[in-house]
């Protein structure tokens, strides 16, 4: 398995070598097969755990780990005893941040949306978009306009002039 470590020259991996593996590979070699043991990646180490525990609402999750919750969830079975603290961390983080996500999805203006969601991870973005869509649908319904048919999103883009049509 020496080719996993690009800096090493030997054909086989030495016992005790530390290297970064993709999650799927670690999951296949890790818990049941006992070929590797896993440590938590950077976004979940003690230092970031402290920061998230202090105030999770201001952390830039997009920069830290774009799929924070999902990634964390898949890590749970790999890390053994640390799994308990990790699980608590994930739920606590979501609990603290959810209020902010919901608030901004229902009340921010169209132009501000990008600024608001810049710090959200993937799960929070999905929630944000769902919230916005529901709000817009509700507004349409209140204005008695929900029976109006609109064109499909993909045709709007194909309506742009193509290069061949201009010349």
């Amino acid at each position: 398995m020496g080719y996993l470590d690009s800096s090493g020259r030997s054909k086989d991996l030495e016992k005790g070598t530390k290297l970064e593996l993709p999650l799927w590979l670690a999951a296949a070699l890790g818990p049941r097969r006992k070929l590797v043991t896993c440590h938590l990646p950077r976004a979940f180490n003690e230092r970031y755990r402290e920061i998230l525990r202090a105030d999770a609402t201001i952390v830039d999750l997009q920069g830290l780990a774009p799929y924070f919750y999902e990634f964390g969830r898949h890590l749970l079975p790999l890390v053994g005893a640390e799994g308990v603290t990790l699980g608590q961390l994930l739920t606590e983080t979501l609990k603290q941040r959810l209020r902010r996500v919901m608030d901004s999805s229902l009340h921010c203006l169209e132009d501000d949306a990008a600024v608001h969601k810049a710090r959200f991870d993937h799960l929070e973005r999905t929630l944000f978009h769902t919230g916005r869509r529901m709000y817009q649908d509700h507004q349409l319904w209140l204005a008695r306009r929900c029976h109006i048919i609109t064109s499909i999103a993909s045709t709007e883009q194909s309506g742009k002039r193509k290069l061949s049509e201009i010349s």
């Binding site: 398995m1 996993l4 993709p22 799927w24 590979l25 296949a28 070699l29 097969r33 070929l35 306009r145 929900c146 029976h147 109006i148 048919i149 609109t150 064109s151 499909i152 999103a153 993909s154 045709t155 709007e156 883009q157 194909s158 309506g159």
Partner: protein, 194 residues
């Protein structure tokens, strides 16, 4: 690195989630399949070289097997997600796809689309006590039988269900039966005015 090409396919689907269906990435799929064949061959060689009870090659085999399964999963996810998007196209565009979308499908996908289209049509015909009911029609409950529409592009002559012919020119408004112009509104030729 193992499985990199397969991840590229997944990323491509993720990036294009809100836009147009990207062209079938024949090249990338072939590369993934080649990688898989090579991995399988290596595994086969190692298994043949292993004497019973010996565990020397075991970690390597395990690793390659994991990569094989990962690649397989990514490929299937790619294909399945494309199928789901193609299925949605049937509901949006009807049984004839615009050429600029059609050119992004590969041959088996076009065949699948035709078959799905036929299945849906057969089912639609069997509804409503023999008279048939087009399920893709009236996705939102209509309020009026006639609606006022504005024309967004030149379309040419258009025959309404009763047999009248109207000429749809850009920036003209018409008063048309909902049932016959619905499709054109969905395609962005007409816009509903209230």
């Amino acid at each position: 690195m193992l499985g990199e090409k397969a991840l590229e396919l997944i990323k491509e689907m993720e990036r294009s989630k809100d836009g147009k269906l990207p062209a079938y990435n024949d090249n990338c799929v072939r590369l993934v399949l080649e990688e898989m064949t090579a991995l399988f061959q290596q595994n086969q060689d190692d298994v043949n070289a292993t004497v019973a009870g010996e565990a020397q090659y075991y970690p390597g085999i395990r690793l390659r097997h994991a990569s094989l399964e990962r690649n397989k999963r990514c490929l299937l996810a790619y294909l399945y997600n494309r199928l789901e998007r193609i299925r949605d196209l049937r509901w949006d565009f009807g049984n004839i796809l615009p050429p600029e979308i059609r050119e992004n499908l590969c041959d088996p996908e076009i065949e699948w689309f035709a078959r799905y289209s036929k299945n849906l049509a057969t089912y639609s015909r069997s509804l409503g006590e023999g008279s048939g009911l087009d399920l893709t029609h009236d996705i939102k409950p209509p309020k009026n039988i006639y609606v006022e529409v504005r024309c967004l592009k030149d379309y040419g002559e258009f025959e309404v269900e009763e047999g009248d012919v109207v000429v749809l020119q850009k920036n003209t408004t018409h008063y048309l039966p909902m049932s016959s112009c619905q499709h054109l509104i969905r395609l962005g030729v007409l816009q509903q005015v209230d």
